[in-house]
């Protein structure tokens, strides 16, 4: 039997108005990959923040390597041997790999205050070789891909003697190849007796990589099981406490006339010669590897970037889109890839976020008709079942799924003819995901044309009437419903022929 490395028991934590954790627990063995699962809002982040010393628990105990410990800061956690790799990495991009790996524990010349750059670079090079990263220690972080930066974080953690590494959604912005490399690294970590707590919404990954799974629901410990004892359905069942019969409730909808037509759209360095159309009631899925140019095309259609060449037609009329206002006034809405960066004003209220593109409609002369605004916002938020304490709640305080619904509310208020969704369910829990898919079905049924970019093959296949595959800035292939297999699409995206 392997020894326990971490035991957290009876952890509770309250914030004003919410009990985020209520008797949460986890027990991790040495050299084990342990998945921590739960819907968004189940308390995973709070739980891990407590382990990392960012938050102090109200109750409960933490045992690490057999010792009862109290962790007051990330520095203390690191000292014990607990390292965190966050969803959003924030390396110091203008420093070299060596500088980043040894940040906070620089080699010095003797006992002086001067750093020993040479020694650090030598050591870093050794580590890079060990982990099979084909870059030199003097490379600046800026030049690395996200996957490589992540690898550097892992190297940093391991080289500082971490015995437990927490990875929060590490694959959310990685390509399939990069994921394979990451998983190999995780296997290597296991060999070296390093334990990993792995948080991810992608169930396939859990079954691929995790030895054990612990599930939290509403801040409570639900169960801890060996992965081999579980299947997809039973795991989802544990997480949501209910059975999801149909993950992709695709609705059958009559497909109407062409709404959007894009002709030979080109933006140098991003995509070229892109032509496609979308019809009313149709959901067109855009699949491709990360960096295939899908988001860039949509940004150009919406006016966030300028296209160098090509034409955009809406309802049989050519439109000129110089900025988002032009797209919006022509009935186009874009739910961007990154909610926090381009979707929401997090520090403002739900009401202000929903109303933002529609303020013109809530004006009486120069003044805002706040009553009408609130009424309309409440109505639409109710329709899309946003869970909130009130319209004045800050958007930043909502869970990922609810934030995404607020973004949807914002655009539904404009009743667009074309809705473009870029990775609409990334980082969203299973329950909210199903709700968003169901809403998409409703929108299509109401006659809206929908474009959905997704990197999740099951989602693309489950939701789309037609799939367009992109690679290296070009359209690689197009597939109609029922005329393809999962393998066809993957092969096409990876560069094979249709």
């Amino acid at each position: 039997m392997r020894k326990m490395i971490l035991k957290m028991e009876g952890i509770s934590k309250s914030f004003p108005g919410v009990k985020a954790l209520d008797g949460a627990a986890i027990a991790v063995k040495e050299g084990e990959v342990h998945a921590l699962m739960g819907e968004n809002g189940a308390g995973k982040s709070t739980f891990m923040k407590i382990l990392n010393g960012l938050l102090e628990p109200d109750e409960g105990s933490i045992e690490f390597a057999g010792q009862r410990v109290q962790i007051h800061s990330p520095a203390e956690a690191l000292k014990l041997g607990i390292a965190m790799i966050y969803q959003e990495l924030n390396p110091i991009k203008d420093m070299t790999i060596a500088d980043n790996i040894f940040l906070g524990r620089e080699y010095t010349r003797g006992n002086s205050a001067f750093v020993d750059k040479k020694k650090a670079e030598e050591e870093a090079d050794k580590l890079l070789k060990e982990f099979g990263l084909p870059v030199g220690a003097k490379t600046h972080m800026r030049e690395l891909s996200i996957a490589q930066m992540q690898m550097i974080e892992i190297i940093k953690a391991v080289s500082s003697g971490a015995k437990l590494i927490v990875m929060d959604e590490p694959t959310s912005s990685l390509t399939d190849e990069e994921i394979a490399i990451l998983f190999q690294t995780i296997q290597d970590l296991k060999q070296n007796n390093v334990a990993v707590i792995y948080i991810s919404h992608r169930l396939e990954e859990i079954f691929q990589i995790a030895d054990r799974v612990t599930v939290l629901r509403d801040g409570k410990y639900i169960d801890s099981r060996k992965t081999e004892e579980l299947d997809r359905d039973s795991l989802i069942n544990m997480m949501v406490g209910r059975k999801l019969d149909n993950i992709f409730p695709k609705k059958i909808v009559d497909i109407g006339s062409i709404v959007l037509e894009v002709k030979k759209l080109t933006r140098k360095g991003a995509f070229e010669d892109i032509s496609f159309d979308v019809r009313a009631g149709e959901i067109v899925g855009f699949y491709g590897l990360v960096g295939a140019g899908r988001s860039e095309v949509m940004r150009a259609v919406f006016g966030l970037d300028r296209a160098d060449q090509g034409e955009i037609w809406m309802d049989g009329r050519r439109i000129r889109v110089k900025r988002p206002q032009d797209a919006i006034s022509n009935g186009i809405a874009l739910v961007t890839e990154d909610r926090k960066d381009t979707g929401l004003v997090l520090c403002r209220s739900i009401r202000e976020n929903i109303a933002l593109p529609s303020l013109g409609e809530f004006c009486k002369g120069v003044f805002l008709d706040k009553e009408k605004e609130s009424r309309m916002c409440r109505e639409i938020a109710g329709k899309l079942t946003v869970k909130m304490s009130g319209l004045s709640q800050e958007a930043g305080n909502l869970s990922g799924g609810n934030q995404q619904k607020v973004v949807l509310c914002k655009w539904m208020m404009k009743s667009p003819k074309l809705l473009i969704l870029d990775e609409p369910t990334r980082g969203i829990d299973v329950g909210a995901k199903a709700e968003i898919h169901s809403l998409m079905g409703d929108f299509a049924k109401a006659g809206m044309a929908i474009i959905m970019i997704s990197s999740e093959l099951p989602e693309i296949i489950g939701m789309s009437d037609r799939i367009i595959v992109m690679g290296e800035g070009k359209i690689k292939g197009e597939f109609k419903l029922g005329e393809y297999s999962q393998d066809d699409i993957l092969k096409c995206a990876l560069g094979g022929k249709k």
Binding site: L334, T342, L356
Partner: protein
């Protein structure tokens, strides 16, 4: 949320004491400072002194209101003091030419500050230069313009009505026991009402918050970010003009060196008032209380006979303490 916030749902209804304290931390700090001075000095709470304090903060208050809008967009404007000087000099020189052209002096004077502020507006909104640097440029340019126009010397204002703006009262103070209502304070109130309406009841105000809170999201929601930033800086320029007029009227002179260092007092009032330098949040009521806290400190310390050297040290400490307390109460 405070009086003007318009955020009534949920927050106060629950009657949570902590949240209540959080919402009114600034008012409590202000009343605390007042209480200390009231106990230490018998004259502090006299009507004449209170009116004096309000009159004292009027100019900084107007500047701080404009600065609030700019800071909510995530920017800053260091040129406000120099813009004030332009207004004073232009007004004074017009009146020097023809003492009867009061309206022209006011409009052209304030307009001049607005026009010069467009330099910052273009640099920030269109050219995407950091507001700190852009307004630093304007600060120097505007001061230069004021010095060139005035030929480096002060110009006395030769119009009694103009100087009434800075020194007059709504009614004869002797009728009400020496306590009058200064015109300067009236202007502050009018500007506060106008900025409140703009910020909370117009599309433009909403966009100011959205741009400061998340420029990219605002853009992706169809907000013309360039336009909003541009007009925020120009509106601030207009308010600098108003403040410049108030100052020139008060000292009955258009001085090219007027307003030097005023930007810092304005920024201080905004920050004490709880507006985040990161943009996206802030309130007019907060800024007014921020300006009042500075005014009361200046006044109270003088009443207590504290030397002006020590006053600066104490003011500096209070700024840090006020902001720390505000941060603490806002934290969850």
């Amino acid at each position: 949320m405070m009086a003007f916030g318009g955020n009534k749902e949920g927050v106060l209804q629950r009657g949570n004491f902590r949240q209540y304290i959080r919402s009114y931390a600034l008012v409590i700090i202000f009343l605390g400072v007042c209480a200390i001075f009231a106990i230490a000095s018998p004259t502090f709470l006299s009507p004449t002194n209170i009116v004096g304090v309000f009159r004292q903060i009027a100019i900084n208050g107007v500047l701080a209101l404009g600065m609030t809008l700019v800071i909510i967009t995530g920017g800053i404007d260091l040129s406000v003091g120099s813009l004030m000087a332009i207004t004073g000099v232009v007004s004074a020189m017009i009146l020097e030419n023809d003492p009867n052209m009061l309206a022209v002096a006011l409009i052209v004077g304030i307009g001049a500050a607005a026009v010069v502020s467009m330099w910052t507006a273009v640099l920030v909104a269109k050219m995407k230069i950091a507001p700190f640097i852009a307004s630093l440029s304007t600060m120097t340019i505007a001061r230069g313009i004021a010095l060139v126009l005035a030929d480096g010397i002060p110009h006395t204002i030769k119009n009694a009505e103009y100087s009434q703006i800075g020194n007059g009262y709504l009614w004869d103070a002797s009728l009400t026991g020496g306590v009058g209502f200064p015109i300067l304070v009236l202007i502050l109130i009018v500007i506060a009402v106008i900025t409140t309406i703009i910020l909370y009841n117009t599309k433009f105000g909403r966009y100011i918050y959205a741009v400061g809170g998340n420029e990219h999201a605002a853009e992706a929601s169809g907000v013309n970010v360039v336009k909003i930033k541009f007009w925020t800086y120009v509106l601030n320029g207009v308010l600098c003009g108003v403040a410049g007029m108030m100052l020139a009227a008060r000292i009955t002179s258009g001085q090219p060196n007027a307003g030097d260092g005023y930007e810092l007092d304005a920024i201080t009032a905004v920050i004490i008032g709880g507006t985040s330098m990161a943009g996206g949040s802030g309130k007019i009521s907060g800024t007014i209380i921020g300006a009042l806290i500075i005014g009361v400190l200046d006044n109270g310390l003088v009443l207590l006979g504290v030397s002006s050297y020590y006053q600066q040290i104490i003011k500096g400490i209070i700024i840090a303490v006020a902001v720390l307390l505000d941060m603490k109460t806002k934290k969850r």
